[in-house]
Amino acid sequence: MTTHMFNSRFDRRTLLKGAAALGAFQVTSPFIIAARGETPIRMGMVDPLTGVYAAPAGNEVMGAKLAVARINAQGGILGRQVELLVEDSANDVGTGVQKARKLIERDQVNFIIGDVNSGIAAAIAQVTAEKKILHIVSGGHTDSITGKDCKWNVFRVCNTTRMEANSVSNVLFNKYGKKWHFITPDYAFGHTLYDACTDDLKKLGGTVTGNELTPLGTTDFSAYLIKARAANPDVMILLVQGSDMINCLKQVVQFGLDKQIHVAGTQQELESLAALPPEARIGVWMFEWYWKQPGVPGVEKFVADIRKVNNGNVPTARHWFGYTSAMTFALVANQEKTTDAVKLATALENFELPDDVKLQPNKVYYRKGDHQLMTSAFIGEAQSKGKDDPEDLYRVDEVVPGDKTAPAVSETGCKVQWPS
């Protein structure tokens, strides 16, 4: 029980503490940039590579890496090679913001991509706007990013919840009926998706039999499914995502509910379908991109290239998000012959993506008013396994262009303010 606090040997303590601190910093390798003519163009990417979103995040990074490899093979950006610096936001806002600052302040990146987690994406957007860096949100879905929180330097590739709901509502109403029961994840994404769906449903003349708000990370949906069944709807709309979707669908099938009520939803991902047992791969959904598009230019090569780096597995929408984000920078920078963020952002408004980037049949472009990519919705049905390919877990019925699913700019609440 000694009281060594302030009265120990301080000379060594000083030395050792200083050495320890210095040593810790020595470990961080200094950025040695060869003072030759050409410094590379740097793209920074912040994504949650650890934590619950690790799988989609990893796929986005893979897609971006493929894009950078292709860009460099074609001569880079403005004749300079491109480097992709990837940082892990660990699904934590503080870390994400810090990594964004690190990429911008220390590593001097020209562009930023990220984050899968909408909250982190929005927080990083504040940093990139402050630092005047062009920022593409690859996979964060919350509407406000191209809505009331839109910024001049921020563009988004993946769909908004409004687009997702609008794409699939008509199909579900006509196919299944007017009484809908919702299983909604209890956070912002879920709420906005629910609002979007119910707005559509009301316009079509349907009714909401109930809404079960499920906490994020719920593993047992019995209580909610019991209530849903009791409400006797025509169709159960599952808005949950990720592990929640997997558990919910599994239990729906285990309980035999799919034999009594139709099952459908909005956003569905190949990652989730792959993690489900085959008998649980059911329902009508929308995908944001799908790999099996016979006859569509560029798709086959993309799938083949991703297969090479993905253990033979096909790309998912997430791969395409990362790929498109990185390619966008290269395309617009090479077109405008500059890396100035304001000029590029201006050029990106109404910028149309070429065949080998958009990888889908319709016209795909960044809309001027809200900087949202008008990307198509792939409506279809899950299938337990493909006829020709074990990874063909989804049958695409219709590909609806983005500008048909997206609400008008005036409805998004976005007013882009340019720096003076």
Binding site: F10, T14, D88, Q98, K102
Partner: protein, 317 residues
């Protein structure tokens, strides 16, 4: 001045020089100012926890709750009350501190694992409130739409919003205030009593010291300091989110305190430095940084239980 006092002075001078010149010596080593700012804020949080853990001997494993509340306090103030950074910091301190003080009244009778688990329970309840009350807190998306405001001192303006260095010195100033207060308290008779309680609670009780009251005061003070750290964190990120309240965040703070040395004043800052810098560096280099950080935890507990400072001290003995 005695030899020991001059040693103390040298140490303090060394530490403060390192802190004052951080933006300048970090850059050539591959650091960046925002990293130093983050180290300071998390270091303050770890030191606030250590105020309770190391000096009173009471473990709170839900202390991040006050940290998170401090962040929300600052954020809500900037968003809804007034565009003033000092007010935001004050609101953060008060929210974190008052909630801690009030709840502290309930729990001071418990000790050890029970105390720790109750603090986890409270922390998680706040976490769920922050998560669910999304109209106020933004829920899972977090509290956004506010930013630290430049401070108008009359004759000049401190642009802490866009200038990373200026912001760093602002945070350093706040840090200095906080730990100055902490040091003062620890050196006071109250502080001595806390240590007596840590060393032998029963004996202290026999000496007539009102144990529960002292623990409550120590707990509350550490919550106010935590709230301060949390408010600063909100300013660093321009963001507040529920994860700052989660017990895993508390675990990080406890680890920083233990890693640096629980029984020393500056130990937690060293622990925070190592933790933050290592995590920052490792997560850029490998996606498996979690294994390394976990390994570090394990090694520290096995071989450096008194923390890095404790190890250095003991090996000199």
């Amino acid at each position: 001045m005695s030899a020991e006092q001059s040693r103390k002075l040298i140490v303090l001078v060394a530490i403060w020089s390192a802190l004052l010149f951080a933006p300048y010596w970090m850059a050539p080593l591959g650091g960046y100012t925002a990293l130093a700012t983050r180290v300071l804020v998390l270091g303050l949080a770890a030191m606030s926890l250590n105020f309770l853990l190391g000096f009173t001997g009471v473990l709170s494993f839900g202390h991040a709750a006050w940290f998170g509340l401090g962040a929300y306090g600052a954020g809500l103030s900037l968003k809804y009350l007034a565009l003033s950074t000092p007010l935001a910091v004050l609101c953060g301190i008060l929210l974190g501190g008052l909630c801690g003080a009030i709840l502290g009244l309930l729990i001071v009778r418990r000790r050890g694992v029970y105390f720790a688990m109750v603090t986890i329970a409270f922390g998680q309840v706040f976490y769920y409130i922050a998560f669910q009350w999304s109209s106020l807190t933004g829920g899972d998306d977090g509290l956004r739409g506010f930013a630290r405001q430049p401070i108008d001192l009359g004759f000049f303006k401190l642009d802490i919003l866009t200038n990373a260095n200026v912001f760093y010195y602002f945070v350093l100033f706040c840090f200095a205030l906080a730990i100055g207060a902490m040091g003062y308290i620890l050196r006071s008779p109250f502080g001595r009593t806390m240590i007596a309680i840590r060393e032998n609670e029963r004996r202290a009780r026999f000496l007539g010291i009102p144990i529960e009251r002292h623990i409550w005061i120590a707990f509350s003070l550490s919550c106010f300091f935590m709230g301060f750290a949390g408010a600063l964190y909100a300013l660093v990120n321009n963001f507040a989110d529920p994860r700052g309240l989660h017990y895993s965040q508390s675990g990080d703070f406890v680890m920083m305190a233990v890693m640096g040395g629980m029984r020393s004043f500056w130990g937690p800052l060293l622990g925070a430095t190592v933790f933050v810098v290592l995590q920052d560096y490792l997560s850029s280099v490998t996606v498996n940084w979690m294994s390394f950080v976990g390994l570090l935890f394990v090694l520290v507990v096995l071989f450096f239980p008194r923390g890095l400072l404790g190890f250095f001290r003991r090996s000199k003995a």
